[in-house]
Amino acid sequence: MPAFLLSSKFHNLQELRHSASLVTKVFIQRDYSEGTVCRFQTKFPSELDSRIERTLLEETVKTLNSYYAEAEKIGGQSYLEGCLACATAYIIFLCMETRYEKVLRKISGYIQEQNEKIYAPRGLLITDPIERGMRVLEISLFEDRGSGGSSPSSSMSSGSSAR
């Protein structure tokens, strides 16, 4: 294998994305059954059948849902934060991080970790939902064109990858 392929420049997931050939993207939609709170469907997309185990993805989505539920929970702490902020005319938000932002950082770290540990080795990449306005959970499928794979404009079912 060419040594330069293993060079440090591929330790970064962003570069992985840019140097790979993107086959397609799969979108996990929001689950609105409980209202407008942020939840994603745990239904497993069929395009990922050959790529990743069902349980892993479900686990990821369930953990993300629990993080969002924690962020959007309306209870004692959110009231306190709201009242305190209102009393200071919300100037305190210029200095302080809100609870939601703290949870978003945790989510971002979690997604990064999941990508590095689970998804990138399988040629997948999860995009943080905040970048899509919390509308969808986007999973990009990458592939090696050399191993008789598919063209980037292929249909969804071409999930063949060199594993």
């Binding site: 059954s33 309306i74 809100t98 306005g133």
Partner: protein, 386 residues
């Protein structure tokens, strides 16, 4: 190995294809037409300046020094709320990138089946069940997404906004999920400020006319007082009415948009699935709920040092992925067209109406544009210093 902080800096989202203006490195986000907003600023600052200059010295001496102090606090609160409402992202939904748009189109075609030639395809609607009620999600042709529940497209700003209330020309921005509570507090505090100034203007005039001590000079000029009274009188009717209207909406957990369209009223209509059927709970959710994130705010994301070692040890598993991947890439550079086609009529009418604020909230029409405009870059710039 030394702990390395991996700072992921995502590029700036500078080319949001809507009609917004950004300032201060993206921290300020407003609509394009700001004329009426400047008028609002002028009226508030002007009237309060006159009050502080002409009435307050007299009242502080003859009544109490607490009067101007309280007025100043109230004025600062009003300004803070106004600026918060005007400058924050109302909850704009990013448009669908090409892959997502294609994905949705394919889903729609699959759902519609074969439409015979000459027949119009069925409207693009998705049904979801929320709290045991069926809610229809409409497709936005501009943003190429199925709008989440309660979202609507503002044709003035040319964006889909989550929990869209209305577009307010007086604050120069849409009012949506992220800034509704600031808007409500703005109208509430402005009502209080207007009543306060109005009351003390009357007190001032009365005290001048009927002085209680010989130390008060008579026949002082009360011209400015009259001007303030006039401004306050007309403002009172509109702002207090508006505050009352929004208090009613909040207690029912409805938006102005839903109220205007009559989404939840009428016998054959669905009941509001978002209401908790309890006024206190509804108020708490709207006013004390969490502060939602913006898709465009700049946040510098720091991965903790511990994780970098995970990245390095995981490089072994990367090898497999790396071997399979080609070096040549097909980077996604979507077309960037800034849409220039929109609804000047609504904007013009909104600006021309001199009468009370937002009694007629506009702008949630579905523009059936099949224009080729799409999206900006795929990454959002996040950079916020602590």
């Amino acid at each position: 190995m030394s702990a390395v902080m991996i700072t992921r800096k995502v590029r700036k989202w500078e080319k949001l294809p809507g009609k917004n203006t950004f300032c201060c490195d993206g921290r300020v986000m407003m609509a394009r037409q700001k004329g009426v907003f400047y008028l609002t600023l002028f009226l508030i600052i002007g009237t309060c300046s006159l009050f502080f200059a002409f009435e307050c010295p007299y009242l502080a001496v003859h009544l109490s020094p607490a009067i101007p102090v309280f007025a100043a606090l109230l004025f600062l609160f009003v300004m803070a709320m106004l600026l918060r409402t005007s400058f924050s992202d109302p909850g704009v939904l990013p448009r669908a990138l090409p892959e997502e748009a294609t994905f949705i189109e394919m889903e729609i075609e699959a759902a519609n089946g074969n439409v015979p030639a000459g027949q119009r395809p069925p409207p693009r609607i998705r049904n979801v069940q929320i709290n045991n009620q069926i809610v229809k999600l409409k497709y936005c042709y501009t943003c190429k997404i199925f709008r989440p529940p309660r979202a609507s497209h503002c044709s003035i700003c040319d964006n889909c906004v989550d929990r869209f209330d209305h577009h307010c020309p007086w604050v120069g921005n849409c009012v949506g999920k992220r800034n509704y509570r600031y808007f409500y507090l703005f109208t509430l505090s402005l009502s209080l400020l207007t009543i306060y100034i109005f009351t003390f203007d009357i007190v001032h005039v009365v005290m001048r006319e009927y002085p209680v001590s010989h130390l008060c000079s008579q026949k002082e000029q009360t011209g400015f007082t009259v001007l303030e009274v006039l401004v306050c009188f007309f403002t009172l009717w509109s702002v207090v009415g508006l505050t009352g209207f929004h208090t009613y909406l909040i207690s029912l957990n409805q938006t102005t948009n839903e109220d205007i369209k009559g989404s939840w009223s009428g016998k054959n209509r669905v009941q509001n699935p978002y209401s908790h059927k309890n006024i206190i709970k509804n108020c708490c959710e709207v006013l004390c709920g969490p502060t939602y994130p913006s898709a465009f705010v700049y946040v510098k994301l720091l991965i903790p040092a511990g994780l970098s070692s995970v990245a390095l040890t995981a490089s072994a598993s990367f090898q497999h992925a790396v071997l399979c991947l080609q070096k040549t890439t097909a980077p996604l550079i979507p077309n960037e067209h800034t849409p220039d086609d929109a609804k000047p009529s609504i904007a013009a009418s909104a600006e021309k109406s001199p009468s009370p604020k937002e009694e007629l909230p506009p702008a949630s029409k579905l523009p059936p544009l099949a224009s080729p405009e799409t999206d900006a870059e795929t990454s959002i710039a996040k950079d916020k210093t602590h």
